[in-house]
């Protein structure tokens, strides 16, 4: 199945929950609204003609220019993109989903953006979402065990955010 066929099928099923697609990129992607992601994922896995039973990875990209001059020229507003890479063992086809999130919930700095978990659909998402929470600061609602996974539990901040600053010290260990 090709990119356009996926978009058509999903648009027919979910309508305006599919907000866009980029088919020119080397890996075409489909954009889904934050409130539609669980339904779309459930459908993608359960529909026999799609059968996306394997989740390769869940990750996110932080879009923020820390340099003011670059920010003024930039084409996009600061935001977070959560990226899902799916694969079907049966049909051997793959798909990329994207969800756009604000960097902070309601523009309140420090309040993490929220997204529904897909860990009940694919177990892989359990650890991947924990890693995402740890390194990029996305809070997954209804996740069974949302704790930091790579950083220590008392770590402050989310290191893969573009505006993250290394702490000066951690338990007597010098940073920076």
């Amino acid at each position: 199945m090709s990119g356009q066929a996926f978009v058509d099928q999903l648009k027919q099923k979910f309508g305006d929950k599919i907000t866009g697609a980029n088919l020119e990129n080397v890996d075409p992607w489909i954009e889904v609204t934050p409130d539609g992601i669980v339904d779309v994922c459930q459908y993608l896995r359960d529909e026999p003609s799609l059968a996306f039973d394997y989740l390769n990875s869940v990750t996110a990209v932080d879009y923020l220019h820390t340099d003011e001059k670059k920010a003024a020229k930039s084409e996009w507003q600061p935001h977070l993109e959560v990226v899902y890479h799916l694969f079907s063992m049966q049909h051997k086809h793959s798909l990329v989903l994207k969800v756009m999130l604000p960097r902070w919930q309601n523009e309140e700095v420090g309040k993490l953006p929220q997204l529904a978990t897909v860990s009940h659909i694919w177990q892989t998402a359990d650890w991947h979402e924990r890693e995402l929470y740890d390194l990029l600061g996305v809070e997954f609602i209804d996740h069974p065990n949302l704790r930091r996974i790579l950083c220590p539990e008392d770590w402050v901040g989310h290191p893969l955010r573009k505006d993250y600053e290394m702490p000066l010290e951690y338990h007597g260990i010098r940073g920076r």
């Binding site: 394997y54 990209v61 220590p152 290191p159």
Partner: protein
């Protein structure tokens, strides 16, 4: 009723066992690096295992956002330090996918030879270390004896023994030195008959079969659900190998190569007739099968290297010069998974058009493989925990990144 000492069995029944938390690691000898497992035990039975990871975390992805792709190659060797060549290859291919670059014919065969040799070296460590986990030391020495020769060959090709940075974006940093192919095939000829020795030492060894067969059974559905890959996935009977089923840019590397995916079909593995039969205690998806898939993949890799040597020696042209260090990347993003010895190693990069990627991500195969330890170990004996974790053949450098 009060117990009397006359009947010893009564006392046995009267023993109260309390739930106890046992901490395994992070410096436990059988955890393949700094992995900490917290076991909730009731006597000898483990009811829950919680892995704690991150002791080697250095946020390599953040470092990647400050370096050009070729500069990040050395960081990829240090992830899976037992299969550095395969990691270099995975990252190089992901960048080449974004750049829409196709390596020359000779470079393609060079990559097959090198990455399959890397697979042999990695599976040898996997085998030896698994023996150590189960309490036998000698297979480890046998495995390292042969691995040493592969490392010598790698050293001759690129100067390093572990952290190679040899395969790179565009091809490789240098061509194979003169006479290398001859030494390589001499090694394969000498190495192939020794595999029977490993099978006597471990695969069919009665104690080994008792320790590994029928333990840690994972169904194919569970293997897919948890995103496991590589020998762990194929050991559960899922017919999936990226060298055959992967994306075109990766499968094109193996164009013209004849090989069969190592997976059980109707009670048989490809080429298992050369080796002893599957013991009756073994159940598909258990530790023994995961181990056996690795052993057969060594033979498969020998075969592929031999074919590669033949292709390479007749190929003409360049081996693939590396791209410029500050080569600008096209705007866009690419994700590519390759079949590393431990499973599907994925690399994702996002570029805004500058030479330095905007975002770099490594999807670790061992990370997903380790996530099944909890459900796999529930209900097993404490002594089986190292047997199960060892059969997943994890490398912590790759999990923690």
């Amino acid at each position: 009723m009060t117990a009397t000492i006359d009947d010893p069995r009564v006392i046995e029944f009267d023993v109260r066992t309390d739930e106890m938390l046992v901490n395994m690691g992070p410096q436990h000898p059988s955890t393949h690096g700094v992995l900490r497992l917290v076991l909730r035990t009731d006597g000898e039975i483990v009811s829950e295992v919680t892995p704690h990871i991150g002791y080697l975390h250095r946020c390599a992805e953040k470092i990647g956002e400050n370096l050009t792709p070729r500069q990040w190659i050395p960081y990829t060797d240090r992830m899976d330090y037992l299969a550095g060549m395969n990691m270099n290859l995975g990252w190089s291919l992901a960048v080449e996918k974004l750049m829409k670059y196709e390596p020359p014919e000779k470079g393609r065969h060079l990559r097959v030879i090198i990455s399959e040799m890397g697979r042999i070296a990695s599976h040898l460590v996997g085998m030896g270390a698994y023996g150590l986990d189960l309490g036998t030391f000698s297979p480890f020495l046998y495995a390292f004896r042969e691995r040493e020769k592969i490392l010598d060959l790698f050293e001759e090709a690129c100067g390093a023994r572990l952290t190679y940075s040899y395969l790179t974006v565009g091809g490789a940093t240098a061509d194979l030195p003169p006479g290398w192919l001859h030494k390589c095939s001499a090694f394969l000829d000498q190495f192939e008959p020794l595999i029977a020795e490993y099978h006597t030492l471990l695969t069919t060894n009665a104690i080994f079969v008792k320790r590994a067969a029928g333990i840690g059974i994972m169904s194919p559905e569970m293997a897919i659900d948890y995103g496991t890959s590589g020998p762990v996935l194929r050991g559960s009977g899922v017919d999936h190998d990226l060298r055959r089923d992967g994306e075109e840019i990766y499968t094109a590397m193996y164009d013209g190569y004849a090989f069969e995916v190592i997976v059980e079909k109707n009670g048989h593995y490809p080429k298992d007739h050369i080796y002893p039969q599957i013991p009756s205690e073994a159940v598909l998806g258990d530790c023994w099968h995961r181990f056996y898939v690795r052993m057969l993949e060594v033979i498969q890799a020998i075969d592929l290297v031999r074919q590669g040597i033949e292709y390479y020696s007749t190929a003409t042209g360049s081996y693939g010069e590396p791209v410029k260090l500050n080569q600008k990347l096209p705007v866009g993003e690419a994700y590519l998974e390759t079949e590393a010895p431990r499973g599907q190693m994925g690399f994702y990069l996002v570029s805004d058009g500058s030479p330095i990627p905007w975002r770099v991500r490594a999807r670790s195969s061992s990370f997903c493989n380790l996530s099944v330890t909890g459900p796999l170990c529930a209900g097993c004996l404490i002594a089986d925990v190292p047997a199960i974790v060892g059969s997943l053949d994890i490398v912590m450098g790759e999990i923690d990144r």
